[in-house]
């Protein structure tokens, strides 16, 4: 009994923080999402009405929401897997027995993760500049005509994905390195004795041993990528022609630009459902595997 009380005492501070800064605000915003809290509510609180699920039904009929959701899925669907693949490739390189200066490379590849996204986005905006940008300068050397990276609706999202992959792969790489180092060397020895080539070792030893890591990395990456916001906010403002408008960006615009807080809260909960759904699929897919 005494032990139990001690346990509660130990977790109480953490629970209190979660309650105060997560559960209560989440509950409040759930309540907000069933009201029509808007600009008129600022003038007079009696201008707030309970509207039930009306925000949600309006949202589902809003073409802009679908556009934002599609953009976000495009970004997460291409950018997420790409980040994981690049991270794994880099982890294998950095972890390779023939590699020298390992700590230096780890630091270099991890550096983008710890830099602030706003600063990075501003620098990349210069790299993408249609006339003076470094990227178009390189394309010019290859005789490829200049691309208006952030101004052309077709290229704006790929440009942002490129930045996001560069910015985020380092974190996943560190996790992969840790996982790679925990694979017992004997497995590789046994495989080599059986005559397995390097590629076969990778397919039949490395990949299966990494599979729990893949679940973790996949879920964390998907959650992060579905919350796309600072990149388009800084670089494109959601344009051109809404090509980089993400769900979080839509929520921000509805909430803080038009002050439709009730509607914005319903956007937030829709995103919560989407993220929950994606996470569930990933967990299921993992369990289905033997």
């Amino acid at each position: 009994m005494n032990e139990r009380r001690a346990a509660i005492l130990f977790i109480a501070p953490a629970l209190a923080v979660i309650l105060l800064f997560f559960l209560i605000p989440a509950g409040a915003s759930l309540l907000l999402s069933i009201t029509d809290f808007d600009i008129y509510a600022l003038a007079d609180v009696r201008n707030i009405r309970l509207v039930g699920l009306q925000n949600y039904t309006n949202l589902l009929r809003d073409p802009l929401f679908w556009k934002a959701l599609l953009n976000t899925v495009y970004y997460a669907g291409v950018g997420g897997p790409l980040t994981v693949v690049v991270a794994l490739a880099m982890a294998l390189l950095v972890n390779s027995k023939t590699a020298k200066w390992k700590p230096l490379f780890r630091t270099i590849y991890f550096a983008p993760v710890v830099t602030t996204i706003v600063g990075v986005a501003v620098v990349w905006k210069y790299l993408y500049h249609p006339r003076f940008g470094l990227l178009n300068r390189f394309l010019g050397l290859l005789h490829i005509p200049a691309i208006d990276w952030l101004g052309d609706p077709r290229f704006a999202m790929p440009a942002i994905i490129l930045l996001a992959v560069w910015k985020n792969f380092g974190y996943n790489m560190m996790i992969f390195i840790a996982a790679l180092q925990s694979i017992p060397e004997e497995l590789y020895e046994a495989a080599r004795i059986d005559g397995a080539s390097a590629i076969q070792q990778f397919r039949h030893v490395t990949l299966p041993m990494l599979s729990p890591t893949f679940v973790f990395v996949g879920i964390i990456t998907a959650i992060g990528f579905l919350q796309l916001f600072p990149e388009p906010y800084v670089m494109t403002g959601g344009g051109p022609v809404n090509a980089t408008l993400s769900v979080v960006m839509l929520m921000y615009e509805q909430g803080f630009k038009f002050w439709r807080m009730g509607y914005a809260a319903s956007v937030a909960f829709m995103l919560f459902l989407v993220i929950g759904f994606v996470t569930l699929i990933q967990l299921r897919a993992q369990k289905a595997r033997p």
């Binding site: 029509d36 600009i39 600022l42 003038a43 403002g237 051109p240």
Partner: protein, 414 residues
């Protein structure tokens, strides 16, 4: 000796501290204007003893910042505000009505362009004083259009001529994703966009339908290219290469045209007020843009704030501000005899500014305007007929205005 010195020091302190302890105004300026306004203020402090703290806010974040400041009870005393935002900030009761302050003031309504002044009036009360003004006129190539058109018929005739000279080029650039061209034509044709109470859309009004048809025909007849402004690489290059001979735009482009068009284009372009549907209505109505100075309700220093507005509205300060920013001054007197009057390209703006009207003064209008642009584009690209577009606009506007109708009804019941 020592005592005397202390006494002198105290005396000195008493003299200097009076103005500094008196007032310290907070002023939020937006974008470039917020940057250069600081150069005008030492004169104001010297005259009144009121010190002004200027906080500069980028235009792109200004609207959110001002609203959030109001919610967080952290508004400045005075702020610059796009005049289309005034209805919205008035709806949340953030702004101080200025009519009482106007009574014995140097700020006088008759010194201002009526259409611009009207943007600051909501339900009969004044909430802002125009600081600088902005409107749209027609820029055209004089080598392709010798006589500036005054009526829509003359306008069409001019376009036809341009097409005869350059069959593979265009007469006018109307970016399909902008709402301004459609709205300008509708306003020139007498359309009000919303009903007078601002509670329902009035897009099925024949005057709006007719204007939208006129707009759509410009594309159907090949006078205007079906291009959004993101697809136009450079407006200036296109104009210089006679890709199109006309473009509807604002005062900032006078400087840009001088700067960016090649030397060979010098003297080959001019500005003219908007053509009107009928000769009797010339010039056609254009939109009343620009920025105003407002006082927040939460301010504790409203008298000092008003003094600052009066100061910035003086003709001399308006002229200096024009020289610093090239923003067109709001005070009419400054338009004669100063640098503003000397620029021939600005004459059209002077004339146009007497014929401007505000957009509907309801907070929801900014969102409705984006629907106007969207449906306008759908018509031009053949995805909607004009009839479908206006019916859909009325439906969207009515739905956006639902809350406003409910709030107004609630106020009336009380």
């Amino acid at each position: 000796m020592n005592f005397k010195f202390q006494f002198l020091f105290l005396l000195l302190l008493a003299c200097t501290s009076r103005p500094t302890t008196q007032e310290n105004l907070k002023f939020w300026g937006l974008g470039h204007e917020g940057e250069v306004v600081a150069q005008l203020l030492p004169e104001f402090t010297r005259r009144t003893g009121i010190r002004v703290e200027v906080q500069q806010i980028p235009w792109s974040a200004a609207h959110e910042k001002l609203l959030t400041a109001y919610v967080g009870d952290a508004t400045p005393d005075v702020a610059q505000m796009g005049n289309t935002w005034i209805p919205e900030f008035n709806a949340v009761r953030a702004l101080e009505p200025l009519d009482p302050l106007l009574a014995h003031s140097s700020v006088n309504e008759k010194n201002y362009f009526p259409g611009i002044w009207a943007t600051n009036v909501v339900d009969g009360m004044l909430y802002g004083v125009p600081w600088y003004v902005d409107t749209r006129v027609l820029f055209y190539r004089t080598d392709l259009i010798p006589q500036p058109p005054r009526t829509w018929d003359e306008w069409l005739a001019a376009m036809r001529r341009v097409k005869q000279v350059h069959p593979d080029k265009y007469a006018i650039l109307l970016p399909t994703n902008e709402y301004e061209p459609v709205e300008l034509m509708a306003m020139a044709n007498g359309a009000t966009l919303l009903n007078p109470e601002g509670t329902h859309g009035a897009f099925r009004d024949p005057r709006f339908v007719q204007a939208m048809q006129f707009y759509a025909d410009l594309f159907r007849n090949g006078y205007a290219p079906v291009l959004s402004n993101t697809q136009v690489a450079s407006v200036y290059q296109g104009f210089a290469e006679a890709e199109y001979a006309m473009y509807i735009t604002g005062p900032w482009n006078v400087g840009e045209f001088h700067k960016r068009l090649p030397k060979s284009m010098e003297g080959k372009w001019a500005t003219t007020p908007m053509p009107a549907p009928r000769a009797a209505d010339y010039p056609g109505t254009s939109m009343a843009g620009g920025a105003s100075l407002v006082i927040f309700r939460g301010s504790q220093k409203k008298d000092a704030a008003w003094k600052l507005i009066e100061f910035l509205s003086e003709p001399a300060q308006q002229i200096r501000f024009y020289e610093l920013t090239q923003d067109l001054p709001a005070h009419r007197e400054t338009w004669s005899g100063s640098a503003v009057a000397k620029d021939p390209e600005l004459k059209a703006f002077r004339e146009q500014l007497e014929h401007v009207a505000p957009l509907p003064r309801v907070p929801e209008y900014e969102q409705i305007a984006t629907d106007v642009a969207e449906n306008g584009e759908a018509v031009v690209r053949g995805r909607m007929t004009v009839q479908q577009a206006v019916t859909d606009l009325d439906r969207k506007a009515d739905s956006l205005l639902t809350k406003r109708r409910w709030v107004l009804a609630r106020i009336q019941q009380r």
